[in-house]
Symmetry: C2
């Protein structure tokens, strides 16, 4: 077997086994050293390749696609700083548990650390941010080595998915010549070959005696609270809401919990808890006996204050695998079990918990009704940031995804996304909460074919405008709602805002740029509604348009601050009247 055939068979067996293990998509950034893998991916009939030039965007595109599909996505780039550009998305994938297979091409060993062009040390480049790193062997064509690459491909997909999902990094040294021979016979090995390895992963389940003890414990406590933070399992909604109704307890549901909207019962869901919990007196009036939390810690800062004031309350945190997500520092009982099975198992052993309405639940519901009456109030057609989000969640299509930016966007969705039967998948990059890579994440989610709306602020939109290129090139259908307050709106809510001398330069950071030109550059449809009515129309129009549609709403940071604070004060005042009774 000559060198080219060895290279070809080595790489072909690897790519084919990725496919056999369930990989369907690869995001490729152009480069020379990665040629063997790039050409083999392009040749493989079952893998779809997406070419994304900017590696930072490419990695977030893969992240968004993997978040949307819950399937691993492969990334491929050449050697050098290309690899380093993947880092932000790799960090986010690690923090938010998203399966990625990061494939980086490298110079062979004799060209490393000797001043060769585009050669950097890629060994363990992502440090502890990947679940596994493996330096691949140089291509060889023996049966042993073809089995080795098939094993590594299969293992990597399994490792990315098992337990808490996350990124895997494989580094491939390649020698020149780099071009594989695509005319080789039987390039993919035996066509009907079974996957080389198969994994069957069990789920953690608690023993019946613990479940009985635990159900008993919850039934004695009168004022329980179920909290559901960010999580992606859409099957969990049914279990949590049934459990809450059986226990007769409210559910504080984060917008990223996937349980605010959908066909399940939402009657115990308290969407307004962020507004409710902003006041200390109100918080004191609803002290719980226990908290049972699913998912990560919620976005709401008010909830964190509430938690801090209730350090003596038993907190149970359910984690499907390992993981310590308790930033407040309260003592916690961690329950390691599959959350869906935990709910159904618990319901099974305790069919007759408190099922009726009770004072505790009623109180939460009455507070929530007050909050909702303010939050859903129809406006005078003035297009504030909050109104923009309200309109969006109103007109966004059933069975679609909403990808939410960090900073103000996710907080406004927390405030204004009310329960409904609309089926929505709410995605966000809440692992590290960066404002980077959002456009690519949204566009990557849209690459799944699912209708996607991306909501984000102007700084976040600016940060990853390069992400629009993929939307243009692949004619992906996506609506992007940019709430443009010309700078960092969230900082106005922080104490830094009091410093008049440096605030605007260091934190306000207005961009003063016309995004319409960027949208035109990427052949997108552009709308700039000025009123609530126009916004609604623009959004509805955008869902009928092909390709990229950007709806820009221009707002004012100071007005936004006043509007939000006014709303929260009104809610506070009305609830306080109830507390004082």
């Amino acid at each position: 077997m000559n060198t080219q055939e060895q290279l070809t068979r080595y790489v072909a067996n690897f790519v084919d086994e990725l496919s056999k293990s369930g990989l369907t998509d690869v995001v490729i950034s152009p480069g020379s050293r990665s040629t063997p893998l790039a050409m083999m991916f392009a040749e493989h009939p079952q893998i779809k390749e997406w070419i994304v030039l900017d590696e930072r965007s490419a990695a977030f595109f893969g992240l968004g696609l993997a978040k949307q599909t819950k399937r691993p996505v492969a990334l491929l780039c050449s050697s050098g700083t290309a690899v380093a550009n993947y880092f932000p998305a790799v960090v986010e994938a690690h923090q938010s548990r998203v399966p990625l297979i990061v494939l980086t091409a490298d110079r062979p060993h004799e060209l490393r650390d000797v001043g060769a062009p585009q050669a950097i040390d890629q060994i363990k480049l992502f440090g502890d941010y990947v679940k596994n790193f493996h330096e691949m062997a140089l291509p060889e064509g023996t049966v042993e080595m073809l089995n080795y690459v098939r094993t590594r491909a299969a293992r990597s997909v399994s490792e990315a998915l098992s337990g808490n999902p996350g990124p895997i990094h494989l580094n491939f040294p390649f020698r020149e010549p780099l071009t594989p021979d695509l005319n080789l016979e039987n390039i993919w090995g035996e066509p009907l070959r079974e996957p080389y390895h198969i994994w069957h992963e069990g789920k953690k389940r608690l023993p019946e005696d613990f479940l009985n003890y635990f159900a008993e414990k919850l039934s004695i406590a009168r004022r329980g609270l179920i909290v559901c933070g960010p999580q992606v399992d859409e099957e969990l909604a049914e279990g949590i809401t049934m459990l809450a109704e059986t226990l007769g307890v409210p559910v504080l549901a984060d917008p990223l919990s996937q349980i605010r909207t959908g066909s399940h019962s939402t009657k115990n869901i308290i969407e307004g808890y962020d507004a409710i919990l902003r006041n200390e007196v109100i918080r004191a009036s609803i002290k719980p006996d226990y908290i049972l939390r699913f998912g990560a810690m919620p976005v709401s800062k008010a909830y964190l204050f509430y938690l801090k004031e209730n350090q003596d309350v038993t907190q149970y945190v359910i984690e499907p695998h390992a993981g310590f997500r308790e930033p407040v520092g309260n003592p916690t009982e961690f329950i390691q079990a599959d959350p869906v099975l935990f709910c159904s198992d618990l319901l099974e052993v305790s069919p007759t918990l408190l099922s009726e309405e009770n004072d505790w639940l009623t109180k939460w519901k009455s507070y929530n009704d007050i909050a909702k009456s303010h939050l859903t109030k129809t406006s005078d057609n003035t297009l504030t940031e909050g109104e923009a989000v309200k309109q969006l969640v109103d007109v966004i299509p059933h069975n679609s995804s909403l990808y939410v930016g960090n900073s103000m966007a996710v907080r406004d969705v927390d405030t204004f996304l009310m329960t409904s039967s609309k089926k929505l998948t709410i995605l966000a990059n809440r692992g590290a909460n960066g404002i980077d890579g959002m456009v690519s994440s949204g566009v990557g989610a849209a690459a799944s074919g699912q209708p996607v709306t991306l909501l984000l602020g102007d700084l976040s939109f600016f940060h990853d405008m390069n992400g629009l290129l993929a939307a243009k090139q692949y004619k992906l259908n996506i609506t992007i709602l940019v709430v443009n307050n010309n700078g960092g709106g969230i900082f106005s809510f922080l104490p830094q805002a009091a410093n008049e001398k440096h605030f605007e330069a260091l934190f306000g950071t207005p961009l003063n740029i016309d995004f319409k030109k960027a949208v035109e550059m990427y052949d997108g449809n552009y709308h700039q509604p000025k009123t609530i009515h126009e916004l609604k129309k623009a959004l509805q129009l955008s869902y009928g348009e092909l390709g990229l549609s950007v709806v820009e709403v221009k707002t004012d940071r100071t007005e936004n601050l006043i509007w939000h604070r006014g709303l929260w004060r009104d809610i506070e005042e009305d609830i306080l009247k109830l507390v004082e009774q």
Copy 2:
């Protein structure tokens, strides 16, 4: 001392000592956790702060400024993926020996690895790519701790600069509240205080007996060759060219050697060596007795072939400090000495080496004359890529900087930059040769106040369009010449180009976007010349314009390939006639 005063004094002493140690510029990306340092930098009278939103661009902006000024530049960002966005520029700074002080704000220890928002593991995040990492203590106000931060500030500047320069990473844990008290008395400590520490760094110098022995050795060999690859010391030109003239040997000078142009004598400089060395027969006709190389390995691939074919030739590589830059694998004698002192010391011990013209030098010069006669030939006004670069180096102002992009740009400058008395600083990111961060690097260099021209291709321009924001916001004067061949032009020169099925999608990667819109978005002047004459006029005009000026030349990848290959063939044929004589 209350907590706020402790925070304030801790951070103020740190910032002040950076300034006392010579730091003049900091690039700040907005964030909340970094507030104490950001506000203190803004307050410090001697430090200029540059606010750059996109952290990837910010780091390259700092890199470009540091490359231009040869002074360390500080970077400051908040916690989370912001830090990871610095990675590409940190890698480049490490590889190309540029001093950066990377300051990252972090959550305090109790908020790490517990699911707190925007908290990622920042300890040693850049791995071996920084010269030193230090996790800072939490702010305290004792005399000991204020001395500690002054020491760390001073050390970091010294460490970034000493030996081979490079990046230093300091990670600062900060607790809320984050706002310092800018009204404290005596905030910077004693105003006339001396720097806390001072370093005096010596230079490596070889003993006289070695110099005598070495001079003797060189004088015996008849056919010596001096090679000068990428290096930044502008004082070296004088020494190298005098040494070459004394030894009677040619100098192969990389475009990034800083010796092709300037007021020194350039009569032994062979600029056309990349064209000359493309042919095997020609290479064989000019076998050297020894090679004395300064700087990194040259850009030219033809030179690498020449080197590989001369493995038996003694190669001396001069390195000012540690460093192994010999990718070809030829046996090498490494000379660790300050290059400028090495030249002057060698000249001193051997004033009467071969100083006259000799056959060897004459042969190189005659080859070079042939190459130059083709390379400088006036064209028929057709605007090819090569012509664009020829015109640029012709009209670029004396005493200015040319920042050169990777891929085709640096190769075209290698081909077309001829010796002249014009004083030019030629900068590039040749540590890792990335196409990322180029716009920011150029704009950062322009932030020094020096006139800067940036030459790059369309993919590189696209990759870092975000870098244009700083040019707009700070009204920086920069001319950017974009050679737009609508895709990855360099790949047409590689074997991959033979694959018709996948080439265009995987390697050609046309963007098909209208850069004029991007330039308008950033309030830049835009020119799109169609002829050589128009290009010359546009460039000249741009040097008179304020702020950002982008000159876009549209070319064709296939025509470019044919044009370059034709030129090289013509040179080859003419030199071969001489070889055969």
